[in-house]
Amino acid sequence: MLKTTPFHARTAPLVLGLAWRRWAGYAVASVYDWLHDREYAAIRNAAALIDVSPLYKYRITGRDAARLLDRVVTRNIGRLAPGQVTYTPWCDSRGKVIDDGTVSCLAEGEYRLTCADPLLRWLHQNAFRMSVQIEDVSESLGALALQGPLSRAVLDEVVESPLGSLAYFRVARNRIAGVDVQISRTGYTGDLGFELWVPAADALRVWDALTTAGSRYGLTPAGIWALDIARIEAGLLMADVDYTSAHRAVAESQMSTPYELSLDHAVALDKPVFNGRDALVAENASGPAWRFVGIEVDWVSFEALFTGRGLSPSLPTVAWRTSVPIYRNGRQVGYASSGCWSPLLKKYIALAHVRAPHFAPDTPVEIEVTVDHERQRAGAWVRRLPFFDPPRKRA
């Protein structure tokens, strides 16, 4: 049996299509309704509730908590004040990315690290001779993402102390339905949104309070299919989909550096010591060999491949997560790792790794598409990420 999340008793009866997926050994809904259109629309148009409990979560406390994190991640944690959250990758000593996630400073000397893969052993290895406690709270803490333009209106109705102007990438304690929760202004959709960190034992009370208040705001539980489209539009990469963890890769060619993943903003080279720093300093000087970019498929050329065979263009209804070659002037210059039709932007988009020097925005490239069982190439352009970045996200 797969594990179930603390919200399972509420989510299970809603999964009408019985479409579940595995995430870190848990069962979560791929889609609740028969189709995911409406769940995706809720993220961009109203409010969506996404169970993200399977994230790995570590509570790191003690005198050296910041020192440990500063050694592990590429961002500067010493500068993170209580109530602040930051997004960061972390690397091995060769500067190859192991995983990425968020670090929240909950209080002086108290942090929460979230990640896609387990990290306990790595944290302990790095904590040698430090005064720090590392607690795996993955199972005791449920997590709900409340995302969408009306998410604040829903939250305002249920919080016991006013939300005020909880700014982008800030976290605060609050109470919902008598339950102590932490609310962070974060998410994986690129939209206005929040994540709620809830004690597993009281998770259902929080779910009920949110869904009851949310019914007047079009709040819709959303599964991973909907989330996947939103995160591609937002240009947010996914570990083990868009890149291979340095801890899992078997050949160095499979690994990526933060610069190759276009995460420059999350690398604090001014920090004296952290894993991979030397390699990253060198790479920063020479320039990365790869970049992680957006790809926009040229619809006119895409459509022509189909009409030439008496077909209408067939679009993926669910985001794909396969490696798809990118060409330029007849030569392969990279590969896309995720893609989808964006119902919002009305564009066929993808996230891709492209080699130097072909990664400049608006470079014309080609992407492989299968038409009538045959491999064809459609025109496309390299685009700057994110594809979608509404002002409300930070407002």
């Binding site: 028969w34 259109d37 961009r44 079009g218 209408s312 039709w341 009305k346």
Partner: protein, 525 residues
Amino acid sequence: MAQVWDVVVIGGGHNGLVNAAYLARAGRKVLVLERRHVLGGAAVSEQIFPGFTFSVFSYVVSLLRPEIIRELDLPRHGLHILPLESTVTPLPNGDYLGAWGDPDLTRRELQRHSPRDADASIEFGRLMYHMARAVKPILGMIPPDPTSLSPGDVKGLFALGGHLRSLGAEQFHALYKLMTMSSADYLDEWFEFEPLKATKSASGIIGAFLGPRSPGSAYVLLHHYMGEIDGAYRAWGFCKGGNGSVSGAIASAARSFGATLRTNAPVRQVLVRNGRATGVVLDSGEEIEARVVVSGLDARRTYLDLVESRELPPDLLEQVRRFRFRGSSGKVNLALSELPDFTCLPGVGAHHRGAISISPSVDYLERAYDEAKYGEFSRRPYMDIVFPSMIDPNMAPPGRHVASIFVQYAPYHVNGGWTDAKREAFGDAVIDTLSEYAPNLKSAILHRQVLTPADIEATLGLSEGNIFQGELALHQLFFLRPAARWASYRTPIRGYYQCGSSSHPGGGVMGAAGRLAALRILAET
């Protein structure tokens, strides 16, 4: 100093705005003149009742051409299309017929009523896919005149002939039938379950002064099937913020290309000198000079009201006078304290997020038409109802709702003419009929707006309140829309063009006429 515009577009409806956007994008200096205080024509969202936003007239999107969305990058300008997944037809016996977003769910629902129809609907869906594909290139084509030998027309006919030949016999014959039959007869060849035939054939009467058994209604049905969203034909969506947001996005695109958009600027007349349009004069007396004048208004206004008849050949005037409008649809918009609770599906459910169709049988629709034929509104009308607030919660205050009810028939030429009392009686007939299926409706109404074809004409200027700027009848389509020899967006007056739905390919918030007219103007001026 008076400035001379490259182009003045009369009418800030969606086609006028599309036209202006394309011309401005090509570098022309464009001015749009809209008579009302708000842009959008029949695609407007207005707060008729405080806190409640109505898509006052047109209310869904499907036909808006994907090339326009792409070429003007309308999503960047705020176009956000949300899914409208289902159609539920409540039945007098307390049951219902549902067509849901998921094909398996729909098939199972049909099987409940008729296993044969459930199978037939799969084949029918494939045929409609082929038909929509067959029609698609025609929608993007400036109609060639089959009687002309001009190189452009001959080339167009050649392309058209090649396209029709490429369809193959089976599809060509199906297309021919759809162009000529009644929707009820056509559907009889496919289905047996009466509410299914009625609900499908209802697409064939929308905006037309036809019953489901009138020949020609099958084409109107096809017209409503050829829309596409995200590559899926026949997909209908709801625009976030109502259909005013469609116009808003196009207007924003037009402005971003440098077009100037003026509201409260009613045009009285097009100025013509030596057979050439030179500008317009407003009701206020202000004269505006332009090298090209484009009318987004319907054919009657474009040819009979805006220019002096001496400027036009008499045979054209005669054709335009005979161009049939005969508006047949009304609209009822409601602000609601709660959703209607349908007896057939109690409580709030998925059906509230799609369309509700009051079309229990073909006879029901035909009877509704019978009353209209003899000059009365239908006492028990056909209705297509959506609850926009269930799709975009911002359309109403939290927990409250809006309903948009498209109603047929409300004939423009009603016996004794439309009066306030007659309008309210029509509104009562709508509410009474709907209350039979949702008894709580009356007590939930906070505000009611009733619009007859006469109101549509008075508010928007659409002649006889026809929502398509003229009926989509076979003799008023393609190279005959709006008149023989003048179906290519030109008029006999040099520098005077038409870009409204009175020209090919007609109405339905497509924008195609506005775009094709712009391409014509850019090629010629």
